[in-house]
């Protein structure tokens, strides 16, 4: 068996008396597109924060390509090839779109904390920045200040920064939240292209997106994974139906 | 107030000003704080110099030339002082008056030395009226610097002389600010007392950070429990006032011998509690016997500048000595004036004063006085004022201190 790209082992997280994540174990294979769904407050964002290093687990481990990353700070984890996006746009508001993406590119291009180089004269950085911008259809807005971007473009930029560093494990937290239908379609297309050959973990509420993209789906309810299966399996799972009852649209209804 | 062309002067001396137009003007630059927290101390001296100049001009000036004293606000900052010095030189000033802050005075002495070395023919002189660090007329002495105030060791000699005569004082407590000046005061007190009254015990030698203490009560209680018969302090500014307030409040009743008890606001902030508690050593107090002319001057000053008291008698001494020197030399140029000042003796309202040639340190009697309600002139616009204590007159000879100065003089 190959080493999973991302592996969670009996992960727990408590805030005081409140247990938010409860004994979560999950293996995600390299190249898999894995979706995590669940009702509001199930702990999806907390799970992402645990994986990406923003929180340290109360117990249990997170491994990236077999390496334990549970106690690492976010930037170390990022260097090992894991990158994430945020539910609320988390961009560098006072910089232009191009500069935003360039910041994301810097580290992977070996620029480190350099203070002796001119950022503008490195061809490789410019090249890569342009590629990412082009990839995310942001090239024509390259010199617009990020704060002035329309909402959908800010979300695209969010993804652009996330993939800019070339990480091979990508975590996307509700990338299409608040988008219109056409914008969502564009975003899904972008995500599909961006995650080509990479491992993707995605949290999403839009079931259309999930069933369109995901190879496998995990359902998180009250901090516990109640099911992990292929989309068809999840669709037919009674426990999942139970958990979602009265909460959100059922998977079948949106497949059309 | 426009410091460059003060309206008071303009109004008061308009007649003279017309006469002055034909004569030359001798420009003096008063470089001291005129704004900010130390503004009042600068202004009290500034007004004194201005009034002194006004009187000299009214009496025909210096060799027929008029004196103009112009204020430059240095915010008691050495660097800003150097900026203002350059402005003053540009404006044609050849005489610099300064007194607040030893750090400023040190910077100015250095700067004046360098200026005179680098710009021959454009020499300037520095009249220091209040910066009392002894080094300025010892190892740091300069031909271009004249001090018109007794330095710290001389003042300490006055205090220790007085203590030496008081057999009831058996122990002394020293308290001061923790920096060069405070440390020098403490060292001088220790060595002089050891020499004059070896039997006196120094029961405390306390240094507190400069300008940081808000409540001196714990210090006072240390003093009280040490059983000291007298306290000596070189504190100034808020440190001085807060110390004395805490002393009065805690019922301390031994003499507090100070250098700066006479500074503005100290007496009024203590009120009646200061009587018999707060002592100062100074070159003069307004309640000494003097001529009617001098009394008239004190009253004129008070009327013109109601916020301040006649305190800087040394401003008059400095100006009178300058006039005498310029007239003796027949010129108001710095080098001849400096040479004429060396060894010059003048008679002023309260006796005589001599500018010692070796180190340019004024020599004069000192007086120990105490706050009293039985005085001719009060201070801070209240009825309390300074009264000479018994055996409080320290002769010029007693106050005189040796100097290590080796001065380089120009040709």
């Amino acid at each position: 068996m190959t080493t999973p790209a991302l592996s969670l082992d009996k992960l727990n997280k408590s805030f005081g008396p409140a247990k938010i994540i409860n004994d979560v174990s999950l293996d995600i294979a390299p190249g898999e597109r894995h979706a995590i769904i669940g009702p509001n407050g199930a702990g999806k964002s907390t799970l992402f924060n645990l994986i990406s290093g923003l929180y340290t687990p109360t117990s249990g481990t997170v491994s990236l390509h077999g390496q334990d990353i549970s106690d690492m700070p976010p930037h170390e984890i990022n260097k090992l090839g894991l990158s994430r996006s945020f539910q609320v746009s988390n961009i560098f508001t006072n910089m232009t779109v191009r500069e935003n993406v360039r910041c994301g590119v810097l580290h992977s291009m070996g620029q480190g904390y350099a203070w002796w180089r001119n950022i503008g004269s490195n061809k490789a950085v410019q090249q890569k920045t342009w590629e990412v911008l082009e990839h995310c259809s942001l090239a024509d807005k390259a010199n617009v200040p990020a704060a002035l971007l329309p909402y959908a473009d800010q979300r695209a930029l969010e993804i652009a920064i996330t993939i800019a560093g070339g990480a091979d494990v990508i975590l996307l937290d509700e990338p299409t939240a608040g988008m219109s239908h056409s914008e969502t379609a564009r975003a899904v297309d972008l995500i599909r292209r961006a995650s080509e050959g990479k491992t993707l973990v995605i949290v999403e509420h839009d079931m259309g997106v999930i069933f369109d993209l995901a190879d496998r789906i995990s359902v998180l309810v009250y901090g516990e994974i109640i099911a992990t299966d292929k989309p068809e399996g999840i669709r037919g799972n009674a426990a999942v139906r139970e958990a979602y009852l009265g909460d959100e649209a059922l998977p079948e209804e949106v497949t059309a | 107030m426009n410091f460059r062309k003060t309206a008071i002067l303009a109004a008061a001396t308009s007649v003279i000003a017309i006469g002055a137009a034909s004569a030359d003007t001798i420009k003096m630059a008063f470089i001291d704080p005129l704004s900010g927290p130390f503004g009042p101390s600068g202004e009290a001296a500034y007004t004194s110099f201005q009034l002194a100049a006004e009187h000299i001009n009214a009496n025909g000036g210096v060799n027929g030339d008029m004196i103009e004293v112009t204020g430059y606000d240095n915010k008691v900052n050495p660097k800003e002082s150097l900026v203002q010095l350059q402005k003053a030189i540009d404006d044609g000033a050849r005489y610099i008056l300064q007194g607040n802050g030893s750090s400023v005075a040190a910077a100015l002495i250095e700067a004046v030395n360098k200026h005179n070395a680098r710009n021959p023919g454009e020499e300037i002189l520095f009249f220091n009226y209040a910066a009392v660090t002894p080094a300025f007329t010892n190892e740091l002495c300069s031909f271009w610097h004249f001090r018109f105030d007794a330095h710290a060791d001389m003042k300490m000699a006055g205090i220790t002389d007085w203590i030496a005569e008081r057999d009831d004082i058996k122990s002394v407590y020293l308290i001061g600010q923790d920096y060069v000046f405070g440390q020098a005061v403490a060292a001088a007190a220790e060595s002089q007392l050891a020499e004059k009254r070896p039997d006196i015990e120094i029961v405390g030698n306390e240094l507190h950070p400069l300008g940081k203490v808000k409540d001196f009560t714990p210090y006072i209680q240390k003093i009280i429990s040490s059983g000291a018969d007298a306290v000596i302090t070189g504190n100034w500014g808020a440190d001085m006032q807060l110390l004395m307030k805490a002393a009065a409040e805690s019922g301390s009743d031994v003499p507090y011998l100070t250098f700066y008890g006479g500074s503005k606001g100290a007496v009024s902030s203590l009120g009646e509690a200061g009587i018999g508690l707060l002592y100062q050593v100074s070159e003069v107090t307004t309640n000494l016997e003097a001529s009617d002319e001098q009394y008239a001057l004190i009253e004129e000053y008070k009327e013109r500048f109601p916020d301040y008291d006649y305190y800087y008698h040394r401003a008059w001494n400095a100006m009178d000595m300058f006039v005498a020197a310029a007239e003796a030399a027949g010129s108001a140029d710095p080098i001849p004036v400096a040479k004429a000042l060396e060894g010059l003796t003048i008679e002023h309202a309260y006796g005589s004063a001599t500018m010692r040639a070796e180190d340019h340190q004024i020599q004069q009697p000192l007086y120990i006085s105490v706050v009293s309600d039985d005085v001719k002139y009060g201070v801070d616009n209240i009825d309390l004022g300074w009264k000479l204590v018994d055996a409080g007159t320290i002769s010029m000879e007693s106050a005189e201190q040796p100097t290590t100065c080796e001065m380089e003089r120009p040709e």
Binding site: - | P37, G39, P40, E43, D178, E206, L207, H208, P209, G211, K212, V213, K214, D215, T217, P218, Y219, I220, Q221, K222, I224, S225, G227, A238, Q241, L242, K245, E249, S250, G251, S252, K264, G265, S268, S269, G271, D307, D380, I382
Partner: protein
């Protein structure tokens, strides 16, 4: 023994004065996030207003009117100054109060003159309360302790026993939530700012005659207030109370210790004539609070009793 008694007495009276001054800032800072640089300026205004009112009527009238006046000035500053700047973030607010401190000092100089005013302890309280070990303890300081405790009780009652207090308390710990409760947040802010300033004014009224009432008194007191608030912790009046007493006692006890570094660190072979060896604990007393501030922020940023980090 006497060192301990004196240390305690002075430490407590100074500490309570500090608490009176800094409790207002704790309220303001916790709720509005504004680290009010001008807080000590309101303390100064309290002293000057008290001086004026005492001059024309009596100290006892000033005791009630001066803090109210200072509070009104504070409320006006909040309404017409701070609120405008609020949109530009906390740095802008902080800088606004920074400039305000400059401005208040200069205006005070114009109105009251540049030198100290003669603001006295009222005659009624101007006597020695008792004497121990040869030093007297002034009655006025006991009065200060009494007023500080009365203020403490009043504040406690206001916060724990009234509806307004409950809202303020909620706002202290969860500043973002209050808006959702449907309360008029700008009005609450203005009121809290006003009350905070009034408390500072009260402290100025009480301290102005013990210390010196001059235009420099704000600058002298300013930094120490921050120390109290930060060490005490955000949102915690109890913390501010503890920190005030701690700093009061720390400063007073340190003054009594004559030991020098050379004596304390003798085992390291530190020479008593070296510059480091020569430093005594008592000479360090006034800077100890700042050392405490820095260490606290590095090792325990939430302060003694605070719940959030700064």
């Amino acid at each position: 023994m006497e060192t301990i008694v004196f240390g305690l007495l002075n430490g407590v009276s100074y500490g309570l004065l500090l608490f009176m001054l800094s409790s207002g800032l704790t309220l303001i800072f916790s709720m509005m996030g504004v680290l009010n640089f001008a807080h000590a300026s309101f303390y100064m205004l309290g002293a000057y207003f008290a001086f004026t009112i005492t001059g024309s009527t009596s100290f006892w009238i000033a005791l009630f009117i001066a803090p109210v006046l200072v509070g009104l000035v504070g409320a006006l500053v909040e309404r017409y100054g701070l609120r405008k700047v609020h949109a530009n973030g906390h740095v802008a607010e902080l800088l606004f109060t920074f400039g305000l401190a400059y401005l208040i000092e200069e205006v005070v100089k114009i109105v009251y003159g540049k030198t100290a005013v003669d603001y006295r302890v009222p005659d009624l309280l101007n006597f020695a309360a008792f004497e121990i070990y040869g030093a007297t303890f002034p009655a006025y300081r006991i009065f200060v302790i009494f007023i500080a405790i009365a203020m403490l009780v009043g504040l406690w009652f206001l916060l724990k026993r009234t509806r307004a207090g409950l809202i303020i308390q909620a706002a202290l710990t969860h500043p973002h939530m209050v808006g959702h409760l449907g309360h008029n947040v700008p009005f609450i802010f203005m009121t809290v700012f006003g009350i905070g300033c009034a408390l500072a004014g009260l402290a100025g009224l009480m301290a102005g005659n013990i210390f010196v009432t001059d235009p420099a008194m704000a600058v002298q007191m300013g930094p120490i207030v921050f120390v109290v608030v930060v060490v005490g912790g955000i949102g915690s009046l109890e913390g501010a109370f503890l920190a005030s007493l701690l700093i009061g006692l720390l400063q007073n006890f340190a003054v009594g210790i004559n030991a020098s570094f050379a004596e304390i660190f003798a085992f390291t072979g530190l020479s008593p004539t070296s510059e480091v060896g020569d430093i005594t604990i008592s000479s360090l007393a006034p800077v100890l609070p700042f050392l405490l501030l820095v260490l606290m922020l590095i090792f325990r940023p939430q302060g003694l009793m605070g719940e959030q980090e700064l």
